[in-house]
């Protein structure tokens, strides 16, 4: 190769450094490039138009899913500011969601006989939640990230406990206990929204409201990200000491991030209360918090689009899991993705696929020979796969014990596989794939909520190890 043609060291060559060092673009990078090639206006309008059509499809289930997605997206956007921009690990974030919901419920229901107009209660809920966030952030000011995590985690717990035992609180100056929060039964009979004379009769109204709010908030955050405050947040997330030395009042900005995040959560909470027509303490506990965190981290902490994508995934996937048919497809898609991620090249992939099929039939034979009783395919799968799968996968009658044993074995093997040489790992893959399918159909698919938690937990660990910047985040470089 003639080196004079390489233009080494010239500005253009240096400028192309980022492209070169990115190496062979992986499928995700190619997807991103393709996406970014589409004109901005289309990129923004297309999803909006599609989303706007959802309630018109006539399925109230779908509309409700959309509403939940909207609520969740608001939460993700808010948490993204707290964690992604300012780098504050607030593990009590859903307490703000709950606070907004309860505030709305207390002001717009039969609980205290107050039925204040929506245009009063919602802003009030937002402001009060933000103020609440401010109060919480004050003692946390001097805390390092780790300490803040503990304090906020504890706080989130306190909130739920208070909500549960708030039906018999002895207020100072009263002899009898008061019922503030309705205890574990919560507050029901919460009013519907009524904006400017328009009563929100069905989920569709909330859907469009949320769609508008998510869009507006996204636009606002987009602008802030590119402005003075957004830069200051990112700077303090990068190096708080240096930021402080460069005129940025770090503590004040942390509090600001906290308060903004709280306000957004409060807004979402207020709408949630109206949609549900009630609030219950169990809605605001740890599982939801982890779901929101998973959404932000999976999407890419600090990335606006990432927060939205993560919210979509974390909101829709559990729905998919709930329907066994969708759950099955989802599982297979994930399995294939995992296989592709490990193997990468076409020919070995084919071998692995064949190997998996072989392992299946072999295990089938072994289990039958050992006298284990099996279930007919129709009992454990409703999908189109039942016919084919029935021959390949063996589901013992005693699902519990076999499932448990297989689960433990799978976890152990996965752990081992993460530490062995790639070549050996690929050889082990067919066994792992079959075992995963076995565990799924035998033990996990009948228990969607538990499975969801397991998968999220595993996802968080794997994500941090393999791709900490999430799907749409930018890889953060640490210069030492």
């Amino acid at each position: 190769m003639d080196s004079t043609n390489l233009n080494l060291g010239t500005d253009e060559w240096v400028a192309a450094h980022a492209e070169r060092s990115a190496g062979t673009p992986g499928p995700l990078d190619r997807a991103r490039a393709a996406w970014e090639a589409v004109p901005l206006l289309v990129r923004v309008l297309l999803p909006v138009v599609l989303l706007a059509l959802v309630p018109l499809a006539g399925s109230s289930y779908l509309t409700r899913v959309g509403v939940n997605l909207g609520l969740f997206a608001l939460l993700a956007l808010g948490l993204n500011i707290v964690v992604g921009y300012a780098g504050l690990l607030d593990l009590g974030y859903v307490a703000f969601y709950g606070f907004g919901a309860y505030t709305f419920a207390m002001l717009s229901s039969d609980k205290f006989g107050l039925h204040l107009p929506t245009l009063v209660t919602v802003p009030l809920a937002v402001v009060l939640t933000a103020a609440f966030g401010f109060l919480l952030s004050l003692p946390s000011r001097r805390l390092l990230g780790d300490y803040l995590a503990i304090v906020t985690l504890f706080f989130g717990q306190i909130f739920v406990e208070f909500a549960i035992s708030g039906d018999s609180i002895t207020l100072p100056g009263r002899s009898q206990s008061s019922d503030l929060t309705g205890g574990s039964d919560g507050i029901s009979g919460v009013d519907r929204f009524s904006l400017l004379g328009l009563r929100f009769e069905s989920d569709a109204y909330y859907y469009y409201l949320l769609l508008a709010l998510v869009l507006l908030l996204t636009l606002a955050i987009y602008r802030v990200d590119r402005s003075r405050v957004g830069r200051a947040w990112r700077a303090l997330g990068q190096d708080a000491l240096a930021a402080e030395a460069m005129t940025i009042p770090v503590n004040r900005l942390k509090i600001l991030a906290f308060v903004v995040g709280a306000g957004i959560a409060g807004l979402s909470g207020a709408i949630f209360a109206a949609v549900q027509r009630g609030v219950f303490p169990s809605s605001f506990d740890l599982p939801l918090l982890i779901l929101v965190y998973a959404a932000v981290i999976l999407g890419g902490s600090g990335s606006l689009a990432g927060a939205l994508l993560g919210a979509a995934l974390m909101s829709l996937l559990p729905e998919a899991l709930r329907q066994p048919a969708y759950g099955e497809w989802l599982f297979f898609v994930l399995l294939c993705l995992a296989a592709v991620a490990v193997v990468r090249r076409a020919r070995p992939l084919l071998l692995v696929a064949v190997g998996t099929v072989v392992v299946g039939f072999v295990m089938n034979a072994v289990l039958l020979a050992a006298g284990v009783q099996g279930l007919p395919a129709a009992d454990w799968t409703q999908g189109l796969l039942s016919r084919g799968m029935g021959r390949w996968l063996f589901v013992p009658v005693d699902r519990l014990h076999w499932g448990n044993a297989a689960f433990v074995l799978l976890v152990v093997l996965l752990a081992v596989a993460s530490r062995i040489r790639p070549a050996v790992r690929i050889a082990l893959l067919p066994v792992l794939l079959w075992l995963a399918t076995f565990v799924w159909f035998v033990r996990l698919s009948p228990e969607p909520s538990l499975t969801r938690q397991l998968l999220i937990g595993a996802l968080l660990v794997v994500l941090m190890i393999v791709r900490p910047e999430g799907l749409l985040g930018r890889k953060q470089v640490e210069v030492l």
Binding site: A149, V151, Q157
Partner: protein, 305 residues
């Protein structure tokens, strides 16, 4: 007065448990600057292991070995099992993140905590298991002190907790491993350069910390009987709080914090309301954070720019 003394005993028992959990947190934080959220789950697994040993040996009604042996075995299996689990978690979920940003192991720890909790739920179901201690260790013949009956179980628990703590202090201050531990806690890179096998130290620290948590799990089972998959979260949180209140990274701090939180909880439960036990512990945490951000016995860090 009787009530006071009774709560004192309860508080000390609970405090001993929290102190053991807090010690685990503090040890791991000291060495890796990591808040091991999964620690509470390790404690829970320890409780389960103790339970399974008990049922395996015939159960509360008809143990096949003498009671004292059964209890010894429960502790041994729980401590070793929990210790190994802790090491496994470190190896697979934290080690690959040793040089990543601070937030990465924290998120990973959250994930591990979630996974472990639900794995136990999957494998063993949501029904509450009971150690049913009075069945094989009746509280009759309990010694009396200031008009308060102190059951032998509680005496054992407090005594064992103190013994373990003492052993730990000896380990940290007198042994070679302890020296290595302190060196790594002080400056990991320097320790590495001085020929200390940092990885081995970390593995051992995790084992010890998790073993202590496992012991705490069995203790809780013996004293409070109930064992279930969610018990790790709340106990972990309290243990955390205790470690932070005492000064994270400080061993005497963890012990002080543990007993303090235990006493606060016991007294609050009785004198105010059981609903507010957690709230008060939280307020203690906030108060300490405001007045002494490094914890009661923590050392102020000097920022080197």
């Amino acid at each position: 007065m009787e009530q006071f003394a009774q709560q004192l005993v309860n508080g000390l028992t609970l405090g001993g448990v929290y102190a053991l959990i807090a010690l685990g947190y503090t040890l791991i934080y000291g060495v890796l600057q990591l808040l091991n959220f999964a620690h509470g789950e390790v404690y829970m697994v320890g409780a389960f292991l103790g339970y399974f040993v008990m049922t395996g040996l015939g159960g509360p009604a008809a143990p096949v070995v003498p009671v004292w042996l059964m209890i010894v075995l429960m502790f041994l299996v729980a401590m070793i099992g929990s210790g190994l689990l802790g090491v496994a978690v470190e190896q697979f979920a934290y080690r690959p993140l040793r040089n990543s940003a601070r937030i990465a192991p924290l998120i990973s720890a959250l994930g591990v905590s979630l996974f472990l909790q639900n794995a136990v739920l999957l494998l063993f179901g949501s029904q509450v298991r009971s150690y049913d201690t009075p069945r094989y260790w009746p509280a009759t013949g309990a010694p009396e002190l200031a008009g308060v009956r102190i059951s032998p179980v509680r005496i054992l628990v407090v005594a064992l907790a103190l013994v373990l703590m003492l052993a730990l202090v000896q380990l940290v201050n007198r042994s070679r491993f302890g020296r290595g531990m302190r060196a790594v806690a002080f400056d990991r890179d320097a320790a590495l350069m001085m020929g200390i096998d940092v990885n081995k130290v970390v593995v051992l620290v995790f084992f010890v910390a998790s073993a202590l948590a496992g012991a705490a799990g069995v203790m809780v089972g013996l004293v409070f009987f109930n064992v279930y998959s969610y018990m790790g979260f709340l106990a972990g949180l309290k243990g955390f709080t205790a470690a932070v209140v005492g000064g994270i990274g400080s061993i005497p701090g963890a012990m002080l914090g543990g007993f303090l939180i235990g006493l606060v909880e016991s007294f609050t439960t009785v004198y105010i309301s059981s609903n507010f036990a957690s709230v008060l512990s939280f307020l203690v945490l906030i108060l300490v954070m405001l007045v002494k951000p490094r914890g009661l016995l923590g050392k102020a860090a000097i920022v080197k720019v």
